[in-house]
Amino acid sequence: MTEVRTSLPRVAAILAAVAGLGLAGCNDTGGDPKLQIGANPVLPPLHQYLLPPIRIATPVGWGSETPKVPQGLQVHALATGLQHPRSVYVLPNGDVLVVESNGPKAPIFRPKDLVTGVVETLAGAKAKDANRITLLRDTNGDGIPDVRTVFLDHLNSPFGVALVGHDLYVANTDAIMRYPYQDGQTSITAKGTKLTDLPGGPIDHHWTKSLLASPDGSKLYVGVGSNSNIAENGIQAEYERAAIWEVDRTTGAHRIFASGTRNPTGLQWEPTTGKLWAIANERDEIGPDLVPDYLTSVQDGGFYGWPYSYYGQHLDPRVQPQRPDLVAKAIVPDYALSSHVAPLGFAMSSGLGLPAKYEGGAFVGEHGSWDRTPLNGYKVVFVPFKDGKPSGPAQDVVTGFLDANNHTHGRPVGLAMDRSGALLIADDVGNAVWRVSSAGVSATPKPAS
């Protein structure tokens, strides 16, 4: 028994040290997100965790409530009862396409993937998806759609949509499909033609493929997300991912327009300069204030850091082997949106329909994530632009998705400006599409044809 007495304190000391190590991993609270908005975000030193902080916002639905907007704006539901709507697209005649979609089943590579599955289910991110596009039409101009049809069915985790002339392109998670579209059509039954394959399964970690046609219609730009958080599935799995593709619309041939963009979920043309801009989701699990998601102009051939570095030359030690040659030329994004806001929706203000303060700039739909305490995002913000560049701090436009008890009524995803200049928001937890317009103005000036 003497042996026991001498060894117990030692064991106790080891256990205390171990417990201390565990606690050091928790209780890590993020700072003021405002410090990370704009061209020069404050970047704290990175931390690695035993238990990465997870904060799940439980979905509770909207009930009789709606999102909140500042004075001068009004919000109402354009459609409810949808199935996991992820993006919206407005056709030239004013019809609204709602892409109802969710990601393919994720493979289990590690015990952690089982935990992730549970977290996603609790946060309402595992909802069954319809894999279809629904069309909404407002024939009498009262702002309430009176025609609702299944526009395109049997898709494969679609996200991006682009119309060029009479060719409608849909970016499924694994291919761009082309469908013939006639003005006023409410349903497409024609079998699509594949323009090109896109990086899809079997892993398909970031599955959304954003899509944008060039102004002359000759090219399509595709935002292709990475196949991992930080290349933990091997760099081979990242072939032609975490990139913005330029696809030739006639041949389907592609080249990498820009790379190192971890998950470019939205692409838009900046109207005064004609430059390509993107929103991108940055990496997780190195702290509540790392790495800020961003909005940036996209340079042809530009490299934006992922996975080797972030915001220029800030190295990520989780990536091995490193690539100093690429890190050296990594571009610092133009505008940080702050960390873990998960920008998934992007629309350039059309300058119609909304109050003058929203005339030039970008709306960003911040889906929010469970990787940070306190939660960040869960709202739609407006970034004012001047001379083709962001000119001030992001302002909250649509809030109320998250309540005071950290329950979610909904989560904003894809954005679009409708024909009258009102802002449309897909809400994949509230299963609705919201329409934000100027207060006191009749909902839609012109009925759809």
């Binding site: 042996e3 064991v11 565990g22 990465p52 015990p111 030690p317 989780r318 990536v319 091995q320």
Partner: protein, 149 residues
């Protein structure tokens, strides 16, 4: 299989079977899993090939499941009046606690899931475990009770 030898085994005296610790059957499993995880950690450290790292994290998780079974069996053994070998039992418990930390470190994304902390923990766990099981794959004094009679 009705050979005479096997019937002989079944006829072994009951008292002898009772004295044998149950957990002894299970003790080698976590040791084997954690030792293998150390080996695959070394492989990942040298190659940065994700396959090795995935092997490691499953091996550690599997080792922990087996360690839970060992703990259950050891508890049963205590009820069967076996005296714990404190030093070895505590060393074994420490190795399991370190392995819980290790599976969390191994659940990180990328190279730092293993290098340097995961690899170090795997090595330390292996050394502590080898000490814990050194007297004969058991955490109780299996030969003391009734041995003098």
């Amino acid at each position: 299989m009705n050979k005479p030898e096997s019937t002989g085994l079944a006829d072994r005296p009951r008292a002898g079977a009772l004295r044998r610790p149950i957990h002894q059957i299970l003790v080698p499993f976590p040791v084997a899993y954690f030792a293998a995880a150390f080996a695959t950690d070394l492989a990942y450290w040298r190659t940065a090939e994700v396959m090795w790292y995935r092997f490691s994290v499953w091996l550690i998780a599997g080792g922990l499941v087996m360690a839970a079974l060992v703990a259950l069996a050891a508890m049963v053994d205590l009820f069967r009046n076996q005296r714990p070998a404190w030093i070895h039992a505590l060393a074994y418990a420490a190795a399991v606690v370190l392995s819980i930390l290790n599976v969390l470190v191994h659940s990180r994304d990328g190279y730092t899931a293993v290098v340097p902390m995961g690899l170090t923990l795997s090595g330390v766990v292996l050394v502590v475990l080898l000490f814990a099981i050194s007297p004969g794959w058991t955490l109780t004094h299996r030969y003391r009770i009734g041995a003098k009679a």
